[in-house]
């Protein structure tokens, strides 16, 4: 029997009883959007439903004219026959889990989430439910995030080393979410200007307006060229690596901040000098803990290589299935 709340379709995850999609990939009438990343918040939907904390970021992505309804975390609203509410997922500013209630049954779609503290957003809120749909980006036990304080120590030691060697320290990180989280984590520990690639400027500004404390930053274009950047920390999106933009600092030491950096093969393949393990997704233990916290009787696993998580959960006595098992 088809699930009245969950139906994977080519356009995205569809809620038949509510008549809406979650993070649709193609234009639809009603879209609940869990975060402002480009792959989730796409232009062209007739109406968007988002968490208020992420409204400014959504407007930036979607443009002023988009019809966006914003809700406080936990504030219920109705779409079709479904009572919907958004709850913090801890992934980034304004990121949300989607709670759907229909005929006495509760389904929660986690969106991307993490369990670690993040100074830029509200922490993940466990939402009790009957069915929990979890992400599975890092669904193997080799992914276990180190404490953030330890990573910040490593980052600063790297920057100090670059200062000794008189070379710029270019840190690649995703422009939305990761960059601001790193800046906020560095804020109490760094007393120098941090330079930003152009793609980060507006997004960092929006986080500041949302009240996130970050160290003073300067557009790289305003910095003096050449030696003046020796020992300075520069943040840039991964797309800038290997681009003509990098030619301005031929001697720079490069680093990438990502959960993938946990594995040596990934570090070496990407060709960065350093890899720092920082992720806005749940690690293996975070995934298991969230499944337990949900109290759900049925677990669906989305995304990529989730088969190990499904199998492990089943061996642990959970009724877990890949989301694709629901059929399209």
């Amino acid at each position: 029997m088809p699930d009245p709340l969950l139906q994977p379709r080519p356009e995205g995850l569809y809620c038949p009883a509510g008549g809406f999609y979650i993070d649709p990939a193609e234009p639809v009438a009603q879209a609940v959007v869990t975060r402002a990343h480009g792959d989730h918040a796409r232009q062209g939907n007739a109406r968007y439903h988002v968490a208020r904390a992420g409204l400014a970021l959504m407007r930036e992505r979607l443009g002023e004219p988009a019809a966006i309804e914003a809700y406080d975390y936990g504030e219920p609203f109705t779409l079709g026959d479904v009572r919907v509410s958004l709850h913090p997922s801890g992934h980034m500013l304004g990121a949300a889990q989607v709670r759907m209630e229909h005929a006495g049954r509760v389904v929660v779609v986690s969106g991307d989430y993490k369990r670690e503290n993040d100074p830029t957003c509200a922490p993940f809120e466990p939402v009790p439910c009957d069915v929990f749909v979890t992400e599975s980006t890092f669904a193997l036990p080799v992914y276990r995030w180190p404490p953030m304080a330890q990573v910040v120590d490593q980052l600063l030691a790297w920057r100090d080393d670059c200062a000794r060697r008189k070379v710029p320290a270019v840190l690649f990180c995703y422009a939305l979410g990761k960059a601001q989280r790193l800046l906020a984590e560095l804020a109490p520990r760094i007393d120098r200007m941090v330079y930003l690639h152009g793609a980060l400027l507006r997004l960092v500004e929006l986080y500041r307006e949302a009240g996130v404390t970050m160290p003073p930053t300067l557009p790289l274009e305003e910095a003096a060229r050449g030696a003046a950047l020796a020992g300075e920390l520069i943040l840039a999106p991964p797309s800038a690596a290997g681009s003509p933009w990098m030619r301005r600092f031929p001697n720079a030491s490069t680093a990438f901040a990502s959960g993938w950096m946990q594995v040596r093969g990934n570090r070496r393949r990407r060709g960065y000098d350093r890899g720092f393990v920082v992720s806005d997704h749940a690690d293996w233990n975070g995934l298991l803990r969230s499944v337990r916290d949900s109290g759900a009787r049925r677990i669906y696993v989305t995304h990529g290589d989730g088969h190990a998580l499904v199998r492990y959960l089943r061996e642990q006595g959970h009724d877990a299935l890949p989301l694709a098992a629901l059929g399209t």
Partner: protein
């Protein structure tokens, strides 16, 4: 081992050869010699014999983490390195951690592992893992399972030793060759200003290695300035006749003592104090050409070959260089003269000890024609050596070129894929290819290289989306893609399901223009193997 773990991290995070050399040199400066000697040994690719089986490592991991075997295997396949996967899977230790010196690990603790039974080894591994920080758990696992592989070549270790000792690299390379023993005294001997050591006579010279010739041969200049020789497909070795005995050293600087007694016996007729460079080949008495490499493999594996094997697979040493004569180092003497003296030395020697013949031609054109006969002569092509050149150390371009004939090729269908290791961890880069046999695709070759990064990424995504079945880390995929594989030789084989063994297969190109029905047929390959 903490300082060594720090060195490893420094080496791992830089691609710069100079930075690596400096890091190793700095380590040599500030580390006690008994530890530094072992670092030189393991960085240069040395390893202890395998101390624990994969099964034991997995069992210890299962007990330490509580994870089922299949999850440990999935993690291993994803990470691409068992030592690293284990370090990532173990719960983090809470310290404080002991700093056990590298030499204590290598000389006492790790060898002690070999004396335990399986249960004892598993318990010992868990106990060590518990008291080490993650970086050292990883290193310990690497030392237990094999080589470090941290992008440091023997050459780089030699350069670091040279920087540290202020001696020339060639001298260090020679002192380090052979069975250098990793202890403080040997390290001190490496750094002695003058060559004054008793071990010299047991050591081979560092091998001079040729580079592949990519330009046309005419670009090398006058034909008369070059010696052309057949390029043998055997075991490169130095034959040392020193003291009262004859020894063979392989290019991997392993002693081959006792494996090829007929060569050692023949060498005893040579005057003491000479060293020959050449190739060991399986070669039947009276035959025109050597047997394929697979025949030689039967001999490599046998420490003490019996009379049946000796008679069934006789070997020869084809000598092509003379590095020492009358106890004098000839490496700076021009090849023209070394070759003349070698010919004189081997005049009248039995076929077991022969002079590798020159491929004499007047000009480059006739040499090109002669090279076309390489396959019939069971050789890989030609070697071109500048007649005025000294015998150099390692791979130095310019004087020695290998000019191999074009490889054989076949078209085969991708049927299985497995994720790679190291830099290719987590990507499907180890492929198995099949050819047609009565309507089925039968695996004939595995290949790991030949595609560029973009092709690997494309194929990786395709494999994930078109997996038929998983067998642990291996996936069978829909037969859809045809690849042109190059290989060096094909032989009949009872050990392979297909009945043929393909030597050195690698991917030449992705044949998107071919359909799978266009792939080769096993019958044709078998016929090739007969011929």
């Amino acid at each position: 081992m903490r300082r060594f773990a720090q060195l490893y991290a420094e080496l791992d995070r830089t691609g710069s050869t100079i930075a690596k050399r400096d890091a190793v040199a700095a380590y040599l400066h500030d580390t006690p010699p008994d530890d530094a000697a072992w670092a030189v040994y393991v960085l240069g690719g040395g390893k202890l014999r395998r101390l624990a089986s994969t099964t034991e490592l997995r069992q210890a991991t299962r007990e330490a983490t509580g994870y089922p075997d299949w999850l440990i295997d999935e993690s291993y396949a994803h990470v691409g390195d068992l030592a690293e996967a284990i370090a990532l899977l173990l719960p983090p230790g809470d310290g404080p951690f002991d700093d056990i010196p590298l030499h204590a690990w290598m000389e006492q603790h790790l060898p002690g592992l070999a004396r335990l039974d399986t249960a004892g080894r598993v318990a010992q591994l868990k106990a060590w893992w518990h008291v080490l920080p993650a970086a050292e758990v990883y290193l310990l696992n690497k030392l237990i399972t094999g080589a470090l592989r941290v992008g440091v070549s023997q050459r780089l270790v030699v350069q670091a030793l040279a920087a540290w000792s202020q001696l020339p690299t060639d001298l260090i390379a020679h002192r380090l060759s052979g069975d250098w023993s990793p202890d403080a005294a040997s390290l001190a001997a490496l750094a002695q200003p003058v060559e004054d050591d008793a071990h010299r006579e047991h050591r081979p010279y560092p091998f001079f290695l040729a580079s592949p010739l990519e330009a046309p041969a005419e670009s090398l200049g006058e034909r008369g300035d070059w010696l052309a020789e057949w390029k043998w497909d055997g075991i490169r070795a130095q034959l040392m006749r020193r003291g009262g005995e004859a020894r063979l050293w392989s290019r991997g600087e392993e002693r081959l003592d006792g494996r090829f007694p007929e060569i050692e016996r023949a060498a005893c007729a040579l005057p003491a104090g000479c060293v020959l460079d050449g190739e060991i080949l399986a070669w039947d008495d009276g035959a025109e050409a050597p047997r394929p490499f697979t025949a030689l493999q039967k001999r490599i594996g046998k420490l003490k070959p019996g009379p049946q094997l000796l008679a069934g697979t006789p070997v020869r040493f084809m000598a092509y260089d003379l590095l020492e004569l009358g106890g004098a180092d000839l490496r700076e003497v021009p090849l023209r003269e070394r070759r003349e003296r070698l010919a004189g030395l081997l005049d009248g020697a039995p076929p077991t000890l022969a002079l590798s013949p020159a491929a004499d031609t007047q000009d480059w054109d006739t040499l090109v024609q002669l090279r076309a006969q390489s396959r019939q002569r069971h050789t890989e092509g030609l070697m071109l050596k500048r007649l005025e050149s000294p015998y150099r150390v390692g791979r130095k371009r310019g004087d020695w070129w290998k000019w191999k004939v074009d490889p054989y090729t076949l078209d085969a269908v991708l049927i299985y894929a497995q994720s790679g290791h190291g830099r290719r961890a987590g990507l499907f880069t180890d492929y198995t290819f099949g050819v047609w046999d009565r309507g089925h695709l039968v695996p004939v070759a595995k290949a790991y290289s030949g595609l560029d990064d973009a092709e690997i990424a494309r194929l990786d995504a395709w494999i994930r989306a078109h997996t038929i079945e998983r067998f642990g880390p291996v996936r069978s995929v829909e037969p859809q893609h045809v690849f042109e594989l190059a290989y060096e030789a094909i032989q009949r084989s009872g050990r392979h399901k297909s009945g043929v063994a393909v030597r050195f297969p690698r991917i030449l190109r992705w044949r998107t223009d071919l359909a799978i029905r266009d792939a080769d047929r096993l019958d044709d390959l078998r016929r090739m193997a007969e011929g």
